[in-house]
Subunit: 342 residues, 2 copies
Amino acid sequence: MLEEIAQQPEALARTIDREREKVKRLGRRLREQDVDLIVLVARGSSDNAALFGRYLLEVTTGIPVALSAPSVVTLYNARLRLKRAAVIGVSQSGEGEDINRVLAEAREGGALCTVGITNEPDSAMTGVVHETLLTHGGRERSVAATKTYTGQLLHFYMLAEALADGGAPLGFEAIPEFAADALDLRPRIEEMVERYVFMENCVVVGRGLVYANAFEMALKLMETCYVVAERFSSADFLHGPLAVVERHFPIFAFAPPGVTLGGVRELLGRLKELRADTLAFTSDREVAALATRAVRLPEEINEMLAVIPYIIPAQLFAALLADAKGLDPDAPRSLAKVTRTL
Amino acid sequence: MLEEIAQQPEALARTIDREREKVKRLGRRLREQDVDLIVLVARGSSDNAALFGRYLLEVTTGIPVALSAPSVVTLYNARLRLKRAAVIGVSQSGEGEDINRVLAEAREGGALCTVGITNEPDSAMTGVVHETLLTHGGRERSVAATKTYTGQLLHFYMLAEALADGGAPLGFEAIPEFAADALDLRPRIEEMVERYVFMENCVVVGRGLVYANAFEMALKLMETCYVVAERFSSADFLHGPLAVVERHFPIFAFAPPGVTLGGVRELLGRLKELRADTLAFTSDREVAALATRAVRLPEEINEMLAVIPYIIPAQLFAALLADAKGLDPDAPRSLAKVTRTL
């Protein structure tokens, strides 16, 4: 897992290099077809990447995006009306049967375009969809996905820019370097994790364009450290779940600069009153001061580009905490790399 | 909270009685307008009701449904293309500023129709939308929503039937009586909760048409019992989170009859091997035998109608567990009835 985390800057650079033109052509095609709905279908970490895709695509293109509920198709046999929709599946392995069935039925049912984002060029998914987008991560061996998650996020950047044609460029070319900078946080995280060895449960919050990272960090903590990790948007957290917080309750917060920062800052203030134990991933001085502890990221990473560099210290946190607990993050109990569900 | 839980059969019957014709007219109008997307926008328990609406509407009408991410509009100022969409807000109080802003912008932006489902006829929401649907619960005083949640679920039944015009009737008229039967489970639940007084965290699972109940039970446990309660679909749970399960780990499962039962049964078998401590809400004999404990619901409650009668024992469980822990479920720490977020 630690090796694969370290491979991310290169994998991201490779993916931009090899996929960018293909994604541009796809974006042009979807614009010409006048797509009026994008449906994303995925599970696990890939579903977390899709959650980011949902925010980014809506924010940059104004096209409504729906996260698919696979069972509607696979168990209830509904025929969704998708004549003006693009349906995008996301899967590391490309072998998720439920995801592939949703894609196949969308294609048969006349969806404008079906797309698969996967790390495996010869997977079943590539045979089902009109168009395949590859993450060039090399084989991912750890059960806990890391480099495929960030590769999937990157594809959503490329797709959003291609679809929004004529809008301001997103600047995602800087991401591989930001990712490399984030890896430098490893010694700081290594020091930090000792403190959390006996943590049994926690909450991870984020909002908007980094909301997906709250889900992804929580999943890594569950998979590799066996911590019961809840995930909420900082807004939803105030609608009920806040009640679980007592003195020393551990909360992790993604707090990059931008429009969501005010709300997260307010939440951290509230949590300070409740004497919660907070760890913020942030470049903001005020947030760092409000939180019990902070992992400081470079200020030059703006809101739009934060999701990838901000997940890296969280991936490191999960892998190093597992290690500090004497667990093997590459072989979580009860799990296999490809999970088959219908 | 216990009083309001007990009011549900009457509130549901009243809502059918007073709203049915209005919902029929709305359904006819939406059919004529040839709606090709439904967007649902809500937070907290209302968002859980929307999650049910999403499954039911897709399954019965084939119209794609998206659960809105309010911050896309309220923080990122995106203008979504909704010219052929119906946008439905759900809010007990009708005062959620973010929800109302999403509705207002959808209306200004030319959405075909905006609808508000609320318990408060004079709320801000009713001034924003084209059409208001009321839950006739009477004022809800407990911070933990119960009768408004089931009232909202009921509106999705009425809307689904009205939109699917000509499909088989859903038979939701039986729900108030099923709800009354479910209330009879109270003595059984009262006996049961003692065992969970020192439970610190747990997982709640469900899938498809009762997936929303996993979210809702978890939220009630967080709000009123301060238990860190995770919620997953039984399929997603296998994609990673299963790793947290060790001997005696408490898991609650909604297992009504129907197409999702096989998967839940399989999961319970797996959890039995892991020696987890499972409690199933079910009418299925085999599931009841696989689970450590079971709350048995009447067999006549079919899959399509399960969501309301199955949440009632879970509401009772949360309220009675809070009581057994010496907590006041009506006044959760750190929360107010109306939560304001943007």
